[in-house]
Every structure is written in C-alpha cells, then in structure tokens.
Symmetry: C2
Subunit: 202 residues, 2 copies
DNA sequence: GGAAGCTCTGAATGGTGGTTCACTTCTTTC
DNA sequence: GAAAGAAGTGAACCACCATTCAGAGCTTCC
C-alpha cells in the first residue's frame, strides 16, 4: 500500500493552514492589503514563500479566506445580538454598539475589513458581506415596524444607510492608533442610528 | 533670443492637458481605476503613451487630477445647494437629492469617485473629499440645531453618517448600468437622511 | 532498511504595465 | 531658410511580485 496521510499528519497540515491564515490576518491588520506580500506572510508564518501554495492556489484565495474568516466572525456576533433578547429597537442599539466596540478594539483589522484598499477579489467579498450586514439590519427594522416601534419606511434603504453610516463614522477613529473617548463616540453613534431608523428620542 | 512659448502655443498645451484629463476621466468612468492603463488613456486622447508624461509626472498624478476635478465639481454643487435658499432642513433634503441624482445620472464616474478600488494616491484623495462632504453636512446640521429644527446631537457624527449612508445606498444602483425607479429611491433616501438628522416626520 | 510519495524550500521565472529616451516633428526667432 | 529648442513618439527598459519547480528532507508502509 502506498503512502497515506496519518491522522496526526492531517492535523499538522490543518494546523499549519490555520497558522498561515492567522499570520496573514495579523500582517493585513498591521500593514493593510496593499502592503501584504506573499513573502511577508510566509516570513511571518515561518515558512517559505512557495509553501503558501501548498495551502492556497493563489494569493487572492488566501486573501479571500482571511477576509471571510474575520468578517464572518463579525457577522455572526452582530447576528446573535440582533437576534437576542429585547425589543427590536433595543437589539438594534446593542448590535451597533457591540459592532463598533469590537471594531475599535481591533482597529487595524477593522479598517482592513471596512475600508482599506484591496484587490478585486477582496473587494467582491466586501460587497457580499455588506449585503449580509444589510440583511441583518433590514430584518430588525422590519420587526421594529411590525411591532409599531418604528415608523413606516423603506427598510432596505435604512439598512444600507446604517451599514454605510457606521463604516464612515468609524473610519476616522480606526485610522488613529489609539482613540479618544470611545464611550462618547459609541453613545453618539447609537443615538444617530436610532434616529436614522426613526426610533423616538429616548 | 531663444525659443519662447507663444500665447497660442501655451493655450494649445493647456487645451491638450485638459483634453487628456477629460479623456482619462471618461476611461476611468467606463472601466474603473484598476483597468485604466496609461496606454489606454493615451490612445483615448489620441497621443502616445510617452506624451502623457509631458503633462503629468506620473500616472498617479494624472489619476489624482482626474479625481480632484470630478469630485471637486460635486463638492461645489452640493455646497451651493446646502448654502442656498430655504431653511436648513429643506436645504439638506435638496442637497442630498441633487447629489444622488447627479450620481445616478453619471453612474460610472460616480462609482469611481465613491467606491471603486483605486491606487493609494486616489484613496487618499477620496478620504480628503469625504472630509469635505462631512464638513458641508455638519454645517447644515449645526444651522438646523441653532434654528431649533433639529434636536441636539453630535453634528460631526451625523454628517459622517450621512456621507457614508448616501454612498452605501447608492453603491448598488450605481453598479447596475440602468436603474429602476430612480424617483422612489431618491424619496426614500431623503426621508432616511432627514430621520437620521432628527427632522420631524413630514 | 528502503522504496514511494509527500511536504518544504527559495532561487529562478515570467507577466504586467509604468516609465524612459533616442529620435522625429513642429515652433520660434533671427 | 536655418539654427535652437520644445513637444511628441513608441519601442525598449525595468522594477516589482506572484508563481513555479527541481531538488532536499520527511513520513509512511512493507
């Protein structure tokens, strides 16, 4: 019988792949997509440049994986909060606060996910994930309208607006390494979002 | 006496430069920054690739000029409407409608200005112009608060949110070559923006 | 132990596209 | 008309990096 991968070997390879993705994520968070070369990622992971191609068919595929992992986590967290306890308006407020707080706690990565210039494949992923954010927000807005907590409105537009507004509000703070007065920013951001959805002033 | 540029020669050179910028703008609007090569721009302008460097020191410099011209026009138009007749809330509504309508009438260019992937130099310009949009919106929001038409709020945040929200709402329609129901979109967009600034429902 | 098949290496390769430059063509000046 | 200097040309150049690949080093299995 010929060579066959042993379970521990399979685990080792998977771990190597995970390690590669994690290192690539760090590099991207530190220097952005544009400055991230295959060599830099390989160095950071302690392997040769060529070895990257054992795990991914191209740099773009690795970049997409990095993006999906990181953005996927955020979608998941946001989805859980928006689907959680409380009335729709409370959930919306909490979701936005959690999202923004997480971004501000991991600025480099958040900037890479939200705004940093990237190759086409990553740009396409970004659009896709924005669509998911929108869908999540749209659902909560729909629930809010159904519950009579929000006025009649085009929920898709409000959802898109929230997505864009949060990103834009965060871009500047994310650009500066250490932020001033995070709490105040979050309060104002949430207040703006609730107004945007038409929730009555608190 | 040596060679000296005659007035008509100077005009000819300036016109050539203008023509080059105009052609480059068209190319960018059609295919986006990423697909815009120096050769393509030169072909479009009917000159040789090398001649581009008579007018601009680098491709990046040309790209920045293209961006500044086009984005500058939009800032100017928006500024005039926001500074025009009527109360601050009316002006805000009209400004957003005009901005969005112009974008939808020139989708390729608007997409390039707002969202299309671009080289670093253009990205920096984009940030700068977003700052200007924000400043314009922030001023109107400030006036609205002073006039008692808008509730107390962090005007900078609202302004950033409006900038991001408008962009995000427009990105999808701009991606599709011909848009459905522009008027409905504009109505909903303006309604959302007014809610975002806290204007009472109409 | 050793054959077979795998992973890993890192220097060489290759495609892309911005930029250069020797040369041609046009303008100015006398 | 001719010299001097500028603009215009476009093929050649070159830097940059993702990608490849021949060989080295491991792992599996009999």
């Amino acid at each position: 019988m010929a060579y066959r991968k042993t379970p521990s070997e399979i685990r080792r390879l998977e771990a190597a792949r995970e390690h590669l993705v994690a290192c690539a994520t760090s590099v991207v968070a530190e220097v952005g997509w544009a400055q991230t070369s295959v060599t830099a990622v390989a160095d950071s992971a302690g392997i040769a440049a060529g070895s990257v191609y054992q795990h991914f068919p191209s740099k773009a595929a690795l970049a997409v994986e990095v993006f999906r992992r990181a953005a996927g986590r955020e979608v998941e967290v946001l989805g859980e909060v928006l689907d959680g306890e409380g009335d729709p308006v409370e959930r919306l407020a909490r979701g936005i606060e959690v999202f923004a707080r997480r971004a501000l706690e991991n600025r480099g990565l958040a900037y890479a996910l939200l705004a940093a210039p990237a190759e086409a494949a990553v740009g396409a992923e970004r659009l896709e994930f924005r669509r998911r954010y929108r869908a999540l927000f749209a659902e909560v807005v729909r629930q809010g309208m159904a519950a009579g907590l929000l006025p009649a409105q085009n929920g898709e537009i409000t959802a898109a607006a929230l997505t864009g507004a949060i990103g834009e509000v965060l871009v500047d703070p994310l650009g500066t390494p250490s932020g001033p007065t995070t709490d105040e920013l979050l309060t104002d951001l949430v207040a703006m979002a609730l107004r945007c959805a038409g929730a009555p002033a608190v």
